[in-house]
């Protein structure tokens, strides 16, 4: 399967494997297309997880990772793409409805927007919160002091 995808997309895909788990690093430009192909042709019909990681020292700071599973093939793969801070990604909700809340969580925690998402707003943190906690430049004890002051009426940090 990897060979077929590689022949179709050439340098945009780099298949790798670590500890027996296959994953591929794809170019940002290929993104909705390759996910569509994986779902429709390669039968990866279950999107297990969508998550991100922040590498502040790299030029392309964010890693977005889709973990996909195919019932028919009993196989799990990961698709990884790298984007910069200001880039956005097209939404995968038309491909897998699971990603509705998963993308909202990635937006909430990292600040990465997904174009075309039906409901792009924060999910775990309160709506008016400023800042994206899972980024590496957000401190472990840091809070949105303004929000806490206004809504909870206490000095933050207690």
């Amino acid at each position: 399967m990897i060979a077929k995808l590689k022949s179709a997309y050439g340098s945009g895909i780099e298949p790798l494997t670590y500890l027996g788990q296959n994953y591929m690093v794809v170019d940002r430009t290929l993104i909705p297309e390759i996910l569509q192909v994986l779902r429709n042709e390669e039968q990866f019909d279950y999107c297990v997880d969508l998550t991100a990681a922040h590498y502040p020292n790299r030029e392309k700071q964010f890693d977005i990772i889709w973990v996909l599973y195919s019932f028919a093939r009993n196989e799990r793969i990961r698709v990884k793409t790298l984007i910069t801070e200001s880039e956005t990604l097209p939404t995968s909700v038309p491909i897998w409805p699971t990603t509705n809340w998963l993308e909202r969580e990635v937006f909430d925690m990292f600040g990465i927007k997904f174009d075309g998402h039906p409901d792009m707003k924060r999910i775990l943190l309160p709506d008016g919160w400023k800042g994206h906690p899972l980024r590496k430049d957000y401190g472990i004890l840091q809070q949105d002091n303004e929000w806490v002051q206004i809504n909870l009426g206490i000095e933050s940090g207690q």
Partner: protein, 384 residues
């Protein structure tokens, strides 16, 4: 009902004319403090009389930033945090985490540890399903099963307490195996428990399975098809009750489940009654596994050779297990230091809760309560 794209339009709460009283629709808040929402879950219902037109879940009231904390703790220090996410089935969370880190390190727990792990995990599955049954029946109105299941759950919690000192947030496993040896009389206790609880499960079934009120309240409620389940990423007993025969213990076996013989119960119609039957059947399958495991615990070490300071090589791994609620996955990125670089928990309850909207459209308000119960969500896991 849309078929392949199960995305439904979100609630439109911003336009005033749609929510005023002279419209036919009523927007009601089932607030975070509610006896039947299994934790702090807020559901905004859009009703037409008593019928649900749509609903929106607002979560995050129990968000504790576990993933952020994970980046600032060493691998062993993070182990107790993991129990607190799905606090009802803490042992499973621990198993998933320990197995993922063991995968990163390339060690495998020794056979004796694997057997004891399986026994504790299956006991935990039973405890979690017992709590589910008690609270689900209580929400629907049947008060007796609550007392029965909690009384019997005490036996399991006693075994946990004798083993690792804690009843609920057990921290039972360590990276590489177990810390505590199975105490004197562990096998006898487990065997006694197995013979004690088998007739109790029949008791629960006697109370509910053919009960006319239970059938009226649960048959045809919250139907979701297998295809929709897969599209929405719903896993666990909900997926199995919709007819998809898939269980991670059989599809991608972990922790020597290969050695045990058990079935995967499935349902047909994907309604609440089928989910109830699937979970009741899972009780019996768990008992089968425990019986097989406790008869064959080998002698040997309980801890593999793991360095004192755990520093996995650079890389990332995703590993998931079949928790009582669904597929619980851990995605850990390691940068070679003693602390994970990124620790992601894929919570089954979070993804299952997305399906609530689709399952409740067109049903009555009372059915919303039944469906929240049947999805078996734990807010600790939804919010982390």
């Amino acid at each position: 009902m849309t078929d392949q794209n199960t995305s439904l339009s979100p609630l439109d709460l911003e336009t005033p004319e749609k929510t005023f009283l002279d419209a036919n629709e009523l927007v009601i808040n089932m607030g975070p403090q509610h006896p039947a929402t299994h934790g702090v879950l807020r559901v905004i219902l859009r009703l037409d009389g008593e019928k649900v037109m749509g609903l929106e879940c607002v979560i995050g009231y129990l968000h504790r930033g576990v993933e952020k904390i994970g980046e600032h703790r060493t691998y062993t220090m993070f182990n107790p945090y993991v129990d607190r996410m799905d606090y009802v089935a803490a042992v499973s969370n621990g198993l998933g985490y320990c197995e993922t880190v063991e995968k990163l390190l390339g060690v495998e727990a020794p056979p004796r540890a694997q057997y004891i792990r399986v026994i504790l995990t299956e006991l935990n599955r039973m405890a979690s399903h017992q709590l589910w049954l008690g609270t689900h029946a209580l929400d629907i109105g049947a008060i007796t099963p609550l007392f029965y299941t909690f009384r019997d759950r005490e036996e399991i919690l006693k075994i946990f307490e004798k083993y690792c000192g804690a009843r609920l947030t057990t921290h039972a496993f360590r990276i590489g195996g177990l810390q505590y040896e199975a105490y004197e009389g562990f096998e006898k206790d487990v065997k006694n428990f197995v013979s004690f609880v088998a007739p109790k499960i029949d008791e629960y079934e006697e109370l509910l399975t053919t009960n006319r009120i239970w059938l009226e309240r649960t048959k045809g409620v919250g139907i979701i098809s297998g295809k929709d389940c897969i599209a929405l990423g719903v896993t666990g007993p909900v997926l199995r009750a919709s007819g998809v025969k898939w269980d991670l213990r059989k599809a991608q076996p972990y922790a020597n489940y290969k050695n045990f013989d058990f079935d995967i119960p499935i349902g047909q119609s994907g309604d609440t009654y089928d989910r109830y039957l699937v979970r009741m059947a899972e009780f019996r399958q768990s008992l089968r596994i425990i019986q097989q495991a406790v008869d064959g615990i080998p002698e040997g070490p309980i801890m593999a050779k793991v360095p004192k300071v755990i520093k996995p090589p650079v890389g990332e791994v995703y590993h998931s297990i079949e928790a009582p609620k669904g597929e619980l996955g851990y995605f850990i990125v390691s940068d070679g230091s003693t602390q994970p670089y990124r620790l992601r928990v894929r919570p089954p309850s979070f993804v299952n809760l997305q399906a609530l909207d689709q399952m409740c459209r067109g049903q009555l308000v009372a059915d919303v309560i039944a469906v929240i119960g049947t999805l078996d969500i734990v807010l600790g896991e939804v919010d982390r």
